[in-house]
């Protein structure tokens, strides 16, 4: 799969993307393409009003984690999709490695000062693999107003053993960034160097559920907010893990919050099976450490290859 030239992959994906968005925009299964452009405008309006009616009347369903698929698909993903398509020009590879229906654990590298990579991974899995990814987030997120509940509505939950096990048991696609704040908040000089992988809790959950682990490499997020310094004292006062200094933040104020338009590649690697283990092996620390290392190695190798393949972060300049 990785032998396909980049240009060919992107055109292939482009061809695949169009019908999906066309289907998304039209009302329930009915073939709307038959009705001319005038009819489809009316239909779109009718659908929009139906959506509005459902939202206003509270007539929609959320799951036990607070995931609101309608809000996520019809509103929130629409808002971040332009970033995915046009700002970062994300190319997603190896989608076939993501199981179509069954449970799996996607393990990815984390970078970029702000967790933009989580959002892009969500769009990639939704648009290319047609799966809603359920990310496991830091508990800091769930203490904050607005952010915590927005995160729940988009399908994510707290990184805890109970939640991970429950989601995997239900056959959901779960995503984790085992580096956590160490990864997302690392200085620019350490870009594309995987940090330590916590205690390998994610491996334990995958072994208990017998679900495959899909290593995922994300290239491009490192360059969006190059962190060259840290207001560590102020961060500690505010209870934050770090408060970054970038070439543009805080010097340009809010303008400094605009991410740099680096070129992104997201690759899903070959799944690492865990179903050959007994669920009780999850308590064996040696197995957990070995598997964690195996996953970490796989992601680092993927990262290095993908970075070479991408070339300059800001093509065609540098």
């Amino acid at each position: 799969m990785s032998e396909i030239p980049a240009s060919e992959t992107s055109s292939e994906e482009g061809a695949r993307i169009i019908p999906i968005s066309a289907v998304r925009g039209t009302p329930p299964p009915g073939p709307s393409d038959a009705t001319g452009p005038a009819g489809s405008v009316d239909e779109r309006l009718a659908e929009l009003l139906a959506l509005l009616r459902r939202r206003i009347a509270g007539d929609y369903e959320v799951d036990e984690f607070g995931f609101d698929p309608e809000l996520n698909d019809k509103v929130l993903l629409e808002l971040i999709r332009p970033l995915y398509r046009h700002w970062f020009r994300v190319e997603t590879l190896g989608v076939d490695n993501v199981p179509a229906e069954t449970g799996a654990l996607v393990v990815a590298n984390h970078s970029g000062t702000l967790p933009m990579d989580a959002l892009m991974m969500q769009v990639a899995l939704h648009d290319e693999a047609h799966r809603a990814v359920r990310l496991l987030g830091a508990d800091l997120v769930y203490q904050l107003p607005v952010l915590g509940h927005l995160s729940r509505k988009t399908g994510h939950t707290l990184a805890s053993r109970e939640d991970a096990d429950r989601l995997l048991r239900k056959g959901e696609l779960v995503g984790v960034f085992p580096e956590g704040f160490k990864g997302v908040g690392k200085p620019f000089s350490e870009r594309y160097k995987l940090q330590r992988f916590g205690r390998g809790g994610f491996v334990t959950s995958a072994v208990r559920a017998g679900t495959p682990i899909v290593p995922c490499a994300i290239v491009g997020a490192e360059e969006i907010y190059p962190k060259i310094g840290d207001f560590s004292t102020l961060a500690r006062l505010l209870g934050l893990p770090y408060l970054p200094i970038t070439p543009f933040f805080p010097w340009l104020g809010p303008l400094g919050l605009i991410p740099l338009p680096s070129k992104w590649l997201i690759e899903f690697g070959e799944p690492i099976r865990t179903d050959q283990f007994d669920p009780e092996d999850a308590d064996d620390p040696m197995l957990v450490f070995n598997l964690t290392d195996q996953v970490r190695e796989a992601i680092q190798q993927q990262l290095d290859a993908l970075r070479l393949r991408r070339g300059p972060a800001f093509p065609p300049f540098f």
Partner: protein
């Protein structure tokens, strides 16, 4: 075979319904209802039918209950007398809940006849916290243990029930943790909250809520009273509603207020004696709470008839409110759009 069932808390709506449902069961010999006050409220809702229940007025906080249990050969005790808000004061509520349960369990422990004890508890024992897992099972250890109000009483009560179950392992002891009760006749801080014209919410938080319909509560309690199902069980309608969804479904206006102001509003409500607005309530309105009910479903081979959403809709219907007006507005808009 169940012969004589003692039901506590029959002067309150849900206790009375359980007692009358048990009284309607021909397999049960006698139903004895006890409470601190006579069941006056019953006549108000159309003589809600205690049936052949024999009422005994007892102050639960006194050892009198032991006399009833021994004199009447009670073999099943259904403990419904858990109040969620102070009638007079917080300490009176605590005494009623905790001391009442202690007296009841002490009486059961001494009795040679009692073979089944069913206790009503609440999912509030899990607390509500951003650090807790999204879904609580019966075995989940609460992360932030509630330390005041109703939830604290329930935790203490459950502690005494566990102790009782340990000492009298021959007695079948079932503890039922109910989600927030919902239904046409339920009168709780939460149903009163949803009856207001404007609903204050905590800014930036949209908690997940779960409700259990009063009909399902009655059915679970009655089944537990005649079957041997020892253990702790979560009871809730299937599914989840976000508070924002509840506000929209009720057709009322939500008013997001910052968390500290919400706390102050709550304290004001508390001092006026309207509701027991404890810090736990604020936590629930911020972080919500969802429980797993698979254990109950597997044990009883039964699911609640009302989902969380259906229970809430039934409550709204009884209050004659709903999202009809706002929905009508959108219908009118779409009418305009399609006419074009």
């Amino acid at each position: 075979m169940t012969h004589t069932v003692l039901v506590t808390g029959v002067s309150r709506h849900i206790g009375a319904r359980v007692a009358s449902a048990l009284a309607a069961d021909p397999g049960i010999g006698r139903v004895i209802g006890v409470d601190t006050v006579p069941p006056s409220s019953l006549t108000r809702d159309g003589g809600a039918l205690l049936g052949r229940t024999e009422f005994v007025r007892i102050d639960l906080r006194t050892p009198d209950i032991a006399q009833v249990i021994s004199a009447e050969d009670v073999d099943t005790v259904v403990h419904m007398s858990l109040v969620s808000e102070p009638a007079k004061s917080r300490s009176a509520m605590m005494e009623h809940n905790v001391i009442g349960t202690m007296q009841l369990l002490a009486a059961c422990q001494r009795s040679a006849m009692v073979r089944r004890v069913v206790v009503r508890s609440t999912t509030a024992v899990y607390g509500s916290s951003p650090h807790a897992p999204a879904v609580f099972t019966e075995d989940t250890e609460p992360v932030d243990v509630p330390h005041s109000g109703y939830a604290k009483d329930a935790i203490e009560i459950e502690g005494y029930v566990r102790g009782f179950a340990r000492r009298r392992s021959d007695v079948v002891t079932s503890t039922l943790r109910f989600a927030n009760l919902m239904g046409p006749r339920v009168d709780s801080p939460l149903t009163r909250y949803f009856s207001q014209p404007v609903l204050p919410t905590v800014f930036g938080f949209d908690p997940r809520l779960q409700f259990v319909h009063e009909d399902d509560v009655v059915e679970v309690m009655c089944r537990m009273a005649v079957e041997d199902r020892p253990g702790v069980f979560n009871v809730s309608g299937d599914g989840v509603l976000l508070l924002s969804q509840c506000v929209r479904r009720s057709g009322r206006t939500g008013l997001p207020v910052p968390s500290p102001a919400f706390g102050v509003l709550g304290m004001l409500a508390r001092t006026t004696g309207l509701v027991d607005f404890s810090p736990e309530q604020l936590a629930l309105m911020s972080h919500g709470r969802v429980v797993d009910t698979t254990r109950l479903a597997a044990t009883l081979a039964w699911r609640p008839k009302f989902t969380t959403a259906a229970a809430f809709d039934d409550f709204l219907q009884s209050r004659g409110t709903g999202a009809d007006r706002t929905a009508a507005l959108v219908d009118w808009l779409s009418g305009l759009a399609t006419r074009r």
